[in-house]
């Protein structure tokens, strides 16, 4: 008798045998016992909104990419291809909920309402963060892989202590699942039954490394070992993502603890604007995923629903162009930091040591200016 990895009952850890999908590539609706009850209110209007969201997110992404190429931004981590994986869950969030994400969460930032002027400042290296976390209830973007998952769990524990009707969503990549922090976050979430949703955007790569370097089994299997239920979802299907997130949020609000969602998706662009994906993957692979485009699919679904696609597309384009213009202007006019800010916000109560350095720095700057 052999000892192998258990294959959990597919009804329990949903989607392990194949990601949950409700929108087929051609836009037809596939039935899903699990997800359908959570999509009853999604009519043509609601789907159109999700469509417009995705178009806007993509436009923001391509605009920022172009601005980086033009030297307006210093760096950009594109999310092209991951629009549904972000828009679906972002639109399942309540206003009161919090998001703890990484550096690639432009969709979340946009839909949470980040000010584009501030947002652009991160990627101009003008600031380390690009929105007021308390205003849009989204933690500053996080570059240390996986660190934010613990923050999300801690926030959720605190919300539970306060009896608040708030859920924390924490999102991270496939690569992040290898970091100790992410696994510790699963331990804590499970032990304290925290109202937290883990969203793993499995975009198949951690920079150059394909996901099989991190795991030989679906990432959605990971949480089961911690006693956390999970769903493996087609991350290019905005409806499936939306429904799965609703299930997870409902569970959290009902006091049923954490849920893990693996969004199976693909990073079509480079890791960042400094990356060269040709070194580690074939164009054919990218093409195959373009065929699964998250936006095209919704267009087809809307068509099938009888929507006036010309009008919808026009409306989406107007709003996307407007956003792109706004972002470009924000990037161009962003206010650079002044050097004296180096010394601000290190401590709540300023220290003599640092104020001394501030004085010395000022004196140095004026001595140089004086010399000119």
């Amino acid at each position: 008798m052999s000892i192998t990895v258990p294959a959990p009952d597919p009804e329990l850890a949903a989607g392990l045998d194949g990601p949950l999908t409700v929108l087929d590539l051609d836009g037809t609706r596939l039935p899903s016992e699990l997800l359908d009850p959570h999509l009853r209110d999604i009519d043509e209007h609601a789907l159109t909104n999700l469509y417009v969201d995705m178009v806007r997110v993509r436009r923001l992404d391509t605009e920022a990419f172009a601005l980086t190429r033009q030297g307006q931004l210093v760096l950009w981590p594109p999310l092209l291809g991951q629009e549904a994986a972000q828009v679906g869950p972002a639109r399942a969030l309540g206003e009161q909920d919090w998001v703890f994400g990484s550096y690639r969460e432009h969709g979340f930032a946009l839909l949470r309402g980040a000010d584009m002027g501030e947002f652009a400042r991160i990627w101009k290296a003008y600031a380390h963060s690009g929105w007021d976390p308390r205003e849009i209830r989204m933690a500053p973007s996080q570059i240390i892989i996986g660190a934010q998952t613990l923050h999300g769990v801690g926030y959720a524990m605190a919300a539970k202590m306060d009896g608040a009707d708030e859920v924390a969503l924490t999102t991270f990549g496939d690569g992040a699942t290898s970091e100790g922090d992410v696994n510790e976050a699963l331990v804590w979430a499970s032990t304290f039954q925290a109202p937290v949703v883990f969203l793993c955007q499995n975009n198949q790569y951690a920079i150059s490394e394909p996901v099989h370097v991190q795991s030989g089994v679906p990432l959605a299997l990971r949480p089961t070992g911690f006693g956390i239920p999970s769903m493996r979802v087609d991350g290019n299907d905005v409806l499936a993502m939306h429904a799965a997130a609703r299930i997870a949020f409902d569970r959290a609000r009902a006091g049923d603890g954490p849920t893990f969602i693996e969004a199976v998706t693909y990073r079509r662009g480079p890791h960042t604007t400094t990356d060269d994906p040709k070194r580690y993957r074939d164009e054919a692979e990218v093409e195959a995923w373009i065929a699964k485009d998250p936006i095209d699919r919704v267009e087809r679904a809307l068509e099938r629903m009888g929507a006036n696609m010309e009008a919808v597309r026009a409306e989406a384009k107007i709003r996307a162009d407007q956003l792109a213009k706004e972002f470009r202007a924000a990037a161009e006019h962003a206010v650079p930091p002044v050097a004296d800010e180096i010394f601000d916000n290190v401590y709540a109560q300023p220290t003599r040591r640092l104020e001394r350095q501030r004085l010395e720095h000022r004196a140095f700057v004026s001595s140089i200016e004086g010399a000119k």
Partner: protein, 342 residues
Amino acid sequence: MTETLTLAKAVNSALADSLEGDDRVLLMGEDIGKLGGVFRVTDGLQDRFGPQRVIDSPLAESAIIGTAIGMSYRGFRVVAEIQFDGFIYPAFDQIVAQVAKLRYRSQGRVSMPLTIRVPFGGAIGSVEHHSESPESYFAHTAGLRVVTASTPQEAYSTLRAAIQSDDPVLFFEPKGKYYTKGEVDRSIVRDLETANVVASGRDVTIAAYGPTVDTALRAAVAAADEGIEVEVIDLRSISPLDVDTVVESVRRTGRLVVTHEAPAESSVSSELIASVAERAFAHLEAAPERVTGYDTPYPPSAVEHDYLPSLDRLLDAVDRTLGRRNSRTDLDYSALTTGAAR
């Protein structure tokens, strides 16, 4: 009104009074609840304040700090315990890349009013990892305050200030002194940045903190027998250092000895000597001296008393600053340049 408390009990009282006074304060750590901590420092607190506010956490230091950060976002003031000095390193990333930087990263919009309690130091006859002094790592980290205490009163008053502070504070508790007693006035809450002159003298300044303050005070008494006046400064805050107070003292004494249990290399004593050399150069009459743990890992505790700063090592350093005969007077270093190292 004062009461006589051990240092451990003074910490316990500061925690209890903080929990009592502010319902956003909560405690988290390994074994701090039912057991009351491996040193019984949190004894009785879970019974009194409940398991929601005195939380026995799973065994992972990175997560203790990481989840405390999340709680800080909601306005909790978490007092996290790291069970022993040598177990803080798994949490290093969350401390230096998150706790220390979140205010800066967010342009002041996210506060981290976190207190991290760490029993530290040696001389307790224990096994590996239980006697370390890792404070210099955190002193080197911008955005953190690092404080310690030398008496029950200081422990009480400084810990209360740490918990009230909106800055993240590492509070290093001298575990070798947990059972020493002293008078504690619970109405005193201290600041987090000022050193104390705990003995006055005109000849030599000894700067110490935590467990070495006591040794320095004993050295002052012993030196007085030989007519040498030692001024002893309890630094209290390791980062930032109250360099002003030390400079003020060195202006008068012209001589400085810095002591701590941590290794010397790139440490708090390096910093204090460098700062004094920069700012009181003209007043220094002799080379500054250090009496610290040697630059080795903490040795088996059977020989820890040779490793740690001691009364005699301090007196020897005082003699060196005064140009009196000392253990290095006839020491021949010549073997070194030719021998051991290439």
